[in-house]
């Protein structure tokens, strides 16, 4: 028995544990998804909320910490690089962008079904409307938290009767709630979404 235990321990000591051999930067992943039926070059203007929704079981406040501001500014920077013009939400933007921090809940699941609790469509001037997620990317299972950036089609909201989610970017991993990492995370999301360009 002692021999078997010894061999097992020796084998375990010979194993190179993957999570012990990655840096915080390497731990981070950047995920994007989009509605392929949407022509992103048809949008010209966008507006972004000036605060971040904190999505968790315990509360759903809006905050604007230094990290939140860094993410919002990074989104503005890379939207500008794509040729999109920032306007206020009162100027009928084509795209509305929400930034959220999502933390682990007791169930570990957050769904777009509850999205209106955090981002009331009234904010975008569409009281009584509901959000519509056209692809099956609504449920998150998280252990530490993530940053979610959502783009909604406001240009066609009136004609379609709903606010369609057209793009989503997620940042997960160690150090994502750090101010110094926000720009690199948003840059990664936009660089792997080359279709986020307006027509010149």
């Amino acid at each position: 028995m002692a021999g078997i235990i010894g061999i097992t321990l020796f084998a375990a000591s010979c194993t190179k544990e993957p999570l012990n051999h990655i840096t915080p930067e390497e731990s981070r992943i950047y995920i994007t998804d989009y509605d392929s039926s949407v022509n992103f070059s048809s949008f010209k203007t966008y507006s972004i909320s000036d605060s971040v929704a904190v999505i968790s079981n315990s509360a759903n406040p809006k905050e604007r910490s230094a990290t939140d501001e860094a993410y919002i500014n990074a989104v503005k920077k890379y939207m500008a690089a794509g040729g999109y013009q920032l306007v206020s939400k009162d100027q009928s933007p084509d795209i509305g962008i929400n930034v959220s921090r999502i933390y682990s809940t007791s169930t570990g699941i957050v769904s777009y079904n509850n999205y209106y609790n955090y981002w009331d469509p009234f904010y975008w001037g569409y009281s009584g409307y509901s959000y519509y997620v056209p692809y099956s990317y609504g449920v998150y299972q998280v252990t530490e938290g993530l940053v979610s950036i959502d783009m909604f089609d406001l240009k066609d909201a009136a004609s379609s009767g709903k606010i369609n989610l057209i793009w989503n970017g997620l940042v997960r991993g160690e150090g994502i709630f750090s101010t110094v990492n926000a720009d690199a995370g948003v840059q990664a999301l936009f660089s792997q979404s080359p279709y986020l360009q307006t027509a010149q």
């Binding site: 084998a11 194993t15 993957p18 990655i22 992943i29 994007t32 998804d33 989009y34 991993g173 792997q192």
Partner: protein
């Protein structure tokens, strides 16, 4: 796959019975202990892990049927690991993920094994040998995108062919060094990946147990 595993288990049971029966006749039993350097081959190398691994060992418990043939059981452990630089992967219809990809595989073979020494019984100081084995390998496959991942474990049919030389410590020749290599075929079909074949370069010692 089920047929292969059944066949391998039958070989192991048969060999163990033969080993036990012959051991009771107070015949020669030899233990081989080896350090292994594993080198992935084929689709294992191309699709999962291309790096060689210095983290492995193996052991054989062999019964000498006569001066040329031996049969017994073989087991061991090999850890394979590789981290790939950040890249963009398609993870859904339109979903892409930028991540550092880490693959980690551990194999534990449980084999029935036979060996043949063409110069056995002669006065040759160096004894070359060839070996064949079959059985199963317990495979633990973990894959991570960044720090997020999962694992799967399975038992997979394994066949092994090997060759090498044995060099005795002294003229008596009961104990000595081993140097050799084995080619390991491990049938694997999961997540679109193919067989986990590898070559193990071995160096170690052998000594009699009785």
């Amino acid at each position: 796959m089920k047929k292969n595993i059944s066949l391998a288990l039958s070989i192991i049971v048969f060999s163990a019975m033969a080993f036990t029966a012959n051991a009771q006749q107070k015949s020669k039993v030899q233990l081989n202990l080896n350090y292994n350097y594993g080198l992935p081959m084929g689709s294992f190398k191309n699709d999962i892990i291309s790096d060689g691994s210095a983290r492995g060992f193996s052991g054989d418990l062999m019964f000498g049927i006569n001066k040329k043939f031996a049969a017994g059981l073989s087991s061991g452990f090999q850890d394979f690991y590789q981290k790939y630089p950040r890249d963009v992967y398609t993870t859904g219809d339109h979903e892409v993920t930028s991540a550092v990809l880490s693959n980690s595989i551990q194999t534990v073979p449980l084999l029935a094994k036979g060996s043949y020494m063409p110069l056995g019984g002669t006065k040759s100081f160096i004894q070359p040998y060839v070996s064949l084995g079959a059985g199963i390998s317990l495979v633990d496959f973990r894959q991570y995108l960044g720090e997020f991942g999962g694992s799967t474990s399975s038992g997979n049919f394994t066949a092994q062919g090997g060759a090498g030389i044995m060099i005795p410590f002294d003229k008596k020749g009961t104990s000595g060094f081993n140097i050799g290599a084995t080619y390991n075929y491990v049938a694997y079909k999961k997540f679109g990946y193919g067989n986990l074949n590898s070559i193990a370069f071995q160096a170690g010692v052998h000594f009699p147990l009785k």
